[in-house]
């Protein structure tokens, strides 16, 4: 019986050693992947600067464009920002050990800038609608998941006629805090349409369309 015990002890110990080695290897590999992703995100930050400058130049130059051209150019810019956001969100969401807060803050600032541009365009072309989605980066509730899906669907169906902007509210950004205060947004998630209509309870897509008139 002592021999059985020793056999077991040996097997448990040997398994423990291999297990620790395997887990350490996996953690190191994961850390390597995540660090590489952060490097890639840093490279992409350069792209944020391009988009940022693009947004500002567009704002300066847009005075001579017709409403159709303005809307189309704004849509293209919005799509680029949105795609960039999706790309870094996927990378950051898959990171479990390396945080990428600055990249998220950069993206939020870009979206704020884009929102500001869109508001100016709206003064000349009032048929454009802005749909701003305020969400929590750290506290993803069921209600927020419902909003995520709703707005994703809305973006697919109404992307040509509306400007869709996503803003995380808990990244310590003064500009976002200011927007929350200005539009009296206390419940998150919330959707602000045309800076007038605030929706903070789950609704259906038809209800959103009552404000945006996409179809």
């Amino acid at each position: 019986m002592e021999a059985d015990f020793m056999n077991l002890k040996q097997a448990y110990t040997m398994s423990g050693v291999i297990f620790i080695f395997a887990v350490l290897t996996i953690f190191l590999a994961a850390l390597f992947f995540e660090t590489s992703r952060m490097e890639k995100i840093k490279e992409e930050t350069e792209y944020v600067n391009v988009l940022w400058n693009d947004a500002r130049l567009f704002e300066d130059m847009s005075g001579n464009l017709s409403c159709d051209e303005l809307t189309e150019q704004n849509r293209i810019l919005g799509d680029r920002i949105y795609e960039y956001g999706l790309r870094i969100e996927k990378m950051l969401n898959s990171n479990k050990m390396v945080e990428g807060l600055v990249a998220k803050q950069n993206y939020a600032l870009l979206d704020i800038q884009f929102w500001k541009n869109s508001q100016r365009i709206k003064q000349k072309c009032p048929e454009i609608s802005t749909v701003v989605y305020f969400y929590s980066n750290f506290n993803r509730t069921y209600s927020q998941q419902v909003f995520d899906n709703l707005l994703l669907d809305f973006k697919y169906r109404c992307g040509r006629k509306t400007v869709y902007i996503t803003l995380p509210v808990d990244l310590n950004l003064t500009s976002v805090d200011f927007a929350l205060k200005k539009y009296n947004i206390t419940n998150i998630p919330a959707v602000l349409i045309d800076e007038k209509y605030l929706i903070s309870e789950p609704v259906n897509i038809e209800y959103l369309n009552n404000f945006t008139h996409c179809w």
Binding site: M1, D4, F5, N7, L8, A11, Y12, M14, S15, G16, I18, F19, A22, V23, I26, F27, A29, A30, F33, E34, R37, K90, M91, N93, S94, N95, K96, M97, E99, Y142, Q145, V146, D148, N149, L150, L152, D153, Y156, P202, N204, I205
Partner: protein, 414 residues
Amino acid sequence: MFSSIEICLLISTLAALYLTIFFYVAYASERSSLRNYPKPKKFPSISITIPVYNGANLIEQTLEAVRKLEYPRDFEIIVVDDGSTDETPQIVSKIASKDPRIKLFRKENGGRGNARNYGLRHAKGEIVVTMDVDARPEKDCLMKAIGFFEDKDVAAVTISCLVHEPKTFMQKLQAIEYALIPLMRKIIESFNAIYAVPGVFGLFRRDVVLSLGGFDEKNLTEDIEIAWRLLAHGYKIKMCPDARVWTYVPESFSKWWRQRIRWNIGGIQTTLKYVRLLFDRRISSIGFFILPTFIIAYFFSIFGLVLVGAMAIDKLLSLIPLFSATAYGANIFDNLMAEIAVYPNVIILLSALSFILGVSWIWLSFHSLDVSMRMRKNVSTLLLFLTFYTALFPLNYMYSTLKFLGNKYRVHGG
């Protein structure tokens, strides 16, 4: 960062990984002797006992298979009719009239354990083989297994039990499950931790089992309980993978479900009976291996199911009200593929390692003991085994536990 669900997933994955590595380590130390069995020098007398209840459709073929068993001396065949209401006794009597080795005993129905004890008490052989009526032993299995009894400390020997002619989907899944058991059982032999001697075809030293009081008639899995009792009294149990018996398994889900409830309740009964031996160094096989693995497997499988359920509900709830199934479906797929293929993280890597080790283990089980070549090629059944079939176990555990706690089970009959 890690969500609470991800932390739970990480813990389960790490536990599964450790256990898998443990079996690989045990395999590595035993691989050279997996198929060895001692050549017998002596041939002890053998009694084969077959408890049967309403087995008229099976008994004739069973007796034919038993009569063909190779052994250099005569063995007795004891059929215990456990109060059958069909033609079983008549069929047995007819065959017995032509073969004097066959003895028929008739008794009132008292359950499987009771019938086994009845056979044990009437057996004259030094070694008693307990056998189910649906078992089809290969003719050389006695010759391969009997040599283990040369060691006086060996009280029981178990052999590979495989599925006979799997036809239905459920039978094919069970065929994979049964094919995985022999290797597992053989490698835990080195810790003397074989926790079951299936009644399909188990060899026991008669005087030892009788001296310990025979089979526990109140236990729904008397073949598991007797194994634990033998180990608790310091005896050894051996596994002979090369000796094979083929058995019929439930063909439908409902029959499978009922069978597994019986097995699980029996498992719970046995665990509770011997839980006092947990971490008892004197009986290390039970105290440091069987009980911990039973308990961990029980809780982690339920925990795993609850976890997967929670993740599924988490996703489903986000679809209520169902605004955007199309976009959502695309989103899930997109994110999933991105995480797995493009953006791997620690959870994905650990799960991938566990999965690869798990699949390799299946291959190793088939390959090392040369179990069914056809099965290896049936990839779709294997995938369903790994997903659908394994998910049924924790569900059955939970249901069986409720039945056990509610005392809604019976020992007698069948």
